[in-house]
């Protein structure tokens, strides 16, 4: 039998990043990242199922994804809307992930039930220090659905054979979300919160055959009567209810798509937000559209079929300000396509010095341009040879993340 401590250790887990002393009493971002590839008690890919393991296997790239998200937060700590104050990492890398972000990995703990309980309580306490804090939660690993509307995140000690299959081995997300609400015990908890659940939401007959399985509670939640839940909360699931999440050697699909969003795909012009800041910021309201775009791109390339789900409560949060206009995928078409052999396509930026001419054999043209306004030009390459119905044309377009198509009619 593999023994686990019945009670969580009283000591705080190591922090991957801690800037609390410098920030003092001011607001900050408090992150909790749990990412599990190596499930000690689960069979490897080609091994037989264990008892009560629901057909789950070891994973290969969840830990890498969690570490990448942690690295992203730490590297951008001064560009976040509030500075990064703490980042707690609990990762269980697979053997071939052990060389990934080794320095960060040494400042993490193993995501077993006791460790997660301790880290979650400490994270909640930090998030409760200022109502202008931002709480950030990311989980990558296995997940299951027990019933409609339900989602359970499976921790590293799952399958240890002690007690019920999920008891003390899984987080019920309802418990997590409710425990982060404004309560009389935590009146100043972060009013901006974001949760990313990067895990399957499938069920299977072995789960349905069991009586409803309880997970255990990661923390106490005070029963509240009068306190309004005025959080602006974003909850993003990597999969639709009943659906799977996918991964490849570069990480989970959702993690890859999310990073594309955070790197500019979910950017909005802060001018449009009536902000005094010029420039661009990463908006949680822009996430659904951007995530769908990047997931569909991955699905097309890799033959998968993953769709995310998002719940947006009571407004928007800008997580990060960008140093420059974000990159935008553009697709440029000539109409009609029969004009392609006779025309030269080019773009010119209104607000930047970009001027690009595209080879005629590339159609439609796919490029990446900094967000902003452009002029798309279609010019006859040889006016003598071009059929008379084709004319030189110019059309303005506004490149907005994540993707902007533009068709130029030349007749």
């Amino acid at each position: 039998m593999n023994a686990i401590p019945i009670h969580p250790p009283a000591v705080e887990m190591p922090l991957a990043f801690d800037d609390r002393e410098r920030l003092g009493k001011g607001p900050g971002v408090h992150a909790l990242i749990i990412a599990i590839s190596a499930y000690t008690h689960l069979p490897k890919k080609d091994e037989e199922d264990g008892a009560s393991t629901f057909g789950l296997r070891q994973l290969s790239s969840s830990a890498r994804t969690g570490l990448t998200i942690g690295r992203w937060l730490i590297d951008r700590r001064e560009r976040l809307t509030e500075p990064l104050a703490t980042c707690r990492l609990l990762v269980a890398p697979a053997a071939d992930e052990s060389s990934f972000e080794p320095e960060l990995a040494t400042r993490s703990a193993l995501p077993t039930w006791p460790n997660v309980c301790v880290a979650a309580e400490a994270w909640r306490a930090d998030a409760s220090s200022h109502r202008d804090n931002i709480a950030f939660f990311y989980f990558a690993g296995h997940g299951v659905k027990r019933q409609a509307g339900d989602h359970v995140l499976i921790l590293q000690n799952f399958g240890d054979g002690i007690g019920g299959s999920l008891s003390g081995k899984a987080i019920d997300i309802a418990d997590l979300l409710l425990g982060m609400a404004p309560l009389s015990t935590q009146p100043d908890i972060a009013r901006r919160q974001m949760f990313f659940f990067d895990a399957c939401r499938t069920s299977n007959p072995s789960i349905e055959d069991l009586q409803f399985m309880k997970t255990g509670s990661i923390w106490n939640i005070v029963k509240e009567k009068d306190m309004e839940d005025d959080r602006v909360r974003t909850t993003v699931f990597s999969a639709i209810p009943g659906g799977p999440s996918w991964a490849n050697e570069n990480g989970t699909f959702f993690g890859q798509a999310l990073l594309n969003c955070l790197n500019g795909g979910a950017a909005v012009s802060l001018d449009d937000y009536g902000s005094d800041d010029a420039g661009w910021g990463i908006s949680m309201s822009a996430l659904p559209k951007a995530l769908t775009y990047y997931l569909e791109k991955l699905n097309r390339t890799l033959g998968a079929g993953q769709n995310s789900e998002m719940q947006q409560v009571a407004g928007d949060v800008i997580l990060q300000r960008l140093d420059a206009p974000p990159p935008v995928d553009v697709t440029l078409w000539l109409k009609p396509p029969t004009a392609v052999p006779f025309m030269q396509l080019s773009v010119r930026g209104y607000e930047n010095a970009i001027e690009r001419e595209y080879p005629v054999e590339r159609h439609p043209v796919r490029d990446t341009l900094p967000a902003g306004s452009y002029e798309l030009r279609g010019r006859r390459r040889d006016p003598q040879r071009a059929p008379p119905e084709y004319k030189d044309k110019v059309k303005p377009f506004d490149a907005q993340p994540p993707h902007t198509p533009c068709r130029l009619p030349v007749t």
């Binding site: 659905k145 027990r146 019933q147 409609a148 509307g149 339900d150 309802a174 979300l177 409710l178 609400a181 069920s203 349905e208 029963k223 009567k225 306190m227 309004e228 839940d229 005025d230 639709i240 209810p241 009943g242 659906g243 001018d271 449009d272 937000y273 009536g274 010029a278 309201s285 822009a286 659904p288 559209k289 769908t292 769709n307 789900e309 998002m310 719940q311 947006q312 409560v313 009571a314 407004g315 928007d316 109409k335 209104y350 607000e351 306004s373 002029e375 059309k395 303005p396 377009f397 506004d398 907005q400 198509p405 533009c406 068709r407 130029l408 009619p409």
Partner: protein, 390 residues
């Protein structure tokens, strides 16, 4: 139960939109009602605008049916109001539990005919929160003393998951929108056993893959009230219709001629509706914040006839430039849509059709600023243009 609008005969086998719209203003069994008051009213009072709001939305859908992404096939309306309401010149049934379950069953059966269809649901009335993930909508016969206390209520969760794809409804409409226009204050006095006794509308199958693009738009956030103009419409209803009329429009593609095609999608509604209600509720000195849940997607709900109108606020940086700036705004086809002599208002507020505009700012030779030209986008519901001059 007869829909107030029924085009099923013409649309048989084709993707179509099916709407179920419910509004309850009259609650006979709570204070001020026409029948004996229930033992527990949860401090609820009679309403004056919820049934009207439902009727308003149903009329809007029927009037704008040509703009829906798929043709409107059925619109079912239940409304409890005094005097009784007509919708599309048809009398409507009252929003009792029995009528609700019957109408919802028929609505679901119609929506199950084609996976490319759209299912729309709207409820306005009293409601409260059993838990942050479980809201109950109270129907007209709430508190009538028959059966358990919450027999007159139906759960949003049951309705939402009951409309999911299942073995019984594999081809149910994959685009769905649920608009829940009610307060979400908790009722801690409810006993645990009472909480489980709402009326189930559907059997919900938990194991099927739920690949719907389905949004739940709550009028307010957990624990909060939803507001209305007495005798008029709810703030949520007003905001929703504004969004459907164009405030939530987004470019959904381009025509073969290269012109933008505009429409309302679940995404764009999820982005615009919270902003719209935030603006409206502030104007009433209220704080009401839309919550969006479900599985959103780029699913199209409506097409626009042309570019929607959007608010533009143009500001100069530095502000002193307004004293000398001449502003010319040029739209599609090189049409000058505005030509303004100094001093220009700061901010300058305009309403323009969505699209791209060339903004030329010139100054007299003696002025301290250089002329600038820039391309600016107008997107609903509003944009701020900052004109930075040196």
């Amino acid at each position: 139960m007869k829909p107030v609008f029924d085009n099923r005969a013409d649309l048989k086998g084709k993707p179509a939109c099916h709407a179920l719209v419910v509004g309850v203003s009259d609650y006979p069994h709570i204070v001020g009602g026409s029948a004996p008051t229930t033992r527990e009213t949860f401090e609820k009072t009679q309403l004056s605008s919820r049934a009207l709001s439902a009727a308003r939305l149903a009329e809007w859908l029927i009037d704008h049916r040509s703009r829906l992404a798929v043709p409107l096939s059925t619109c079912r309306v239940l409304a409890s109001a005094t005097p009784e309401l007509l919708v599309h010149d048809e009398p409507v049934a009252r929003a009792t539990v029995e009528n609700f379950v019957r109408a919802a069953t028929e609505w679901a059966a119609d929506a199950a005919a084609n996976r490319d269809g759209i299912a729309l649901f709207y409820f306005a009335g009293h409601g409260f929160e059993l838990s942050p993930t479980d809201q109950v909508m109270l129907l007209e016969d709430f508190g009538n003393g028959i059966g358990p206390l919450l027999r007159g209520g139906v759960g949003v969760t049951n309705l939402f998951y009951g409309m999911a794809p299942s073995g019984n409804a594999p081809d149910i409409a994959r685009t769905q929108a649920f608009f829940v226009d009610m307060g979400r204050t908790p009722q801690p006095s409810l006993q645990k056993f009472e909480r489980t006794n709402t009326t189930a509308v559907f059997d919900a199958n938990p194991s099927a893959v739920d690949d719907r693009k389905a949004g739940i738009f709550y009028a307010t956030s957990s624990g909060s009230e939803a507001y209305a103009v007495p005798g008029g419409a709810t703030l949520f209803n007003q905001s929703l219709i504004s969004c459907l009329e164009g405030r939530a429009a987004t470019a959904i593609g381009q025509t073969n001629e290269g012109n933008e095609l505009w429409g309302i999608t679940l995404f764009s509604l999820a982005e615009a509706l919270p902003k719209q209600i935030d603006e409206l509720s502030r104007s009433f000195d209220a704080d009401q914040r839309v919550t969006v849940g479900g599985s959103l997607g780029p699913a199209n709900l409506l097409y626009m006839d042309g570019p929607p109108l959007a608010d533009v606020a143009l500001r100069f940086e530095p502000a002193e430039a307004v004293a000398d700036a001449h502003v010319e705004i040029i739209g599609d086809g090189n049409v000058v849509v505005a030509s303004l002599a100094p001093p220009v208002a700061q901010p300058l507020r305009l309403e323009l059709p969505a699209g791209l505009y060339l903004v030329n700012v010139s100054f007299p030779p003696a002025a301290a600023f250089q002329p600038v030209s820039m391309l600016k986008a107008v997107r609903p519901p509003r944009v701020d243009w900052k004109i930075r001059v040196k």
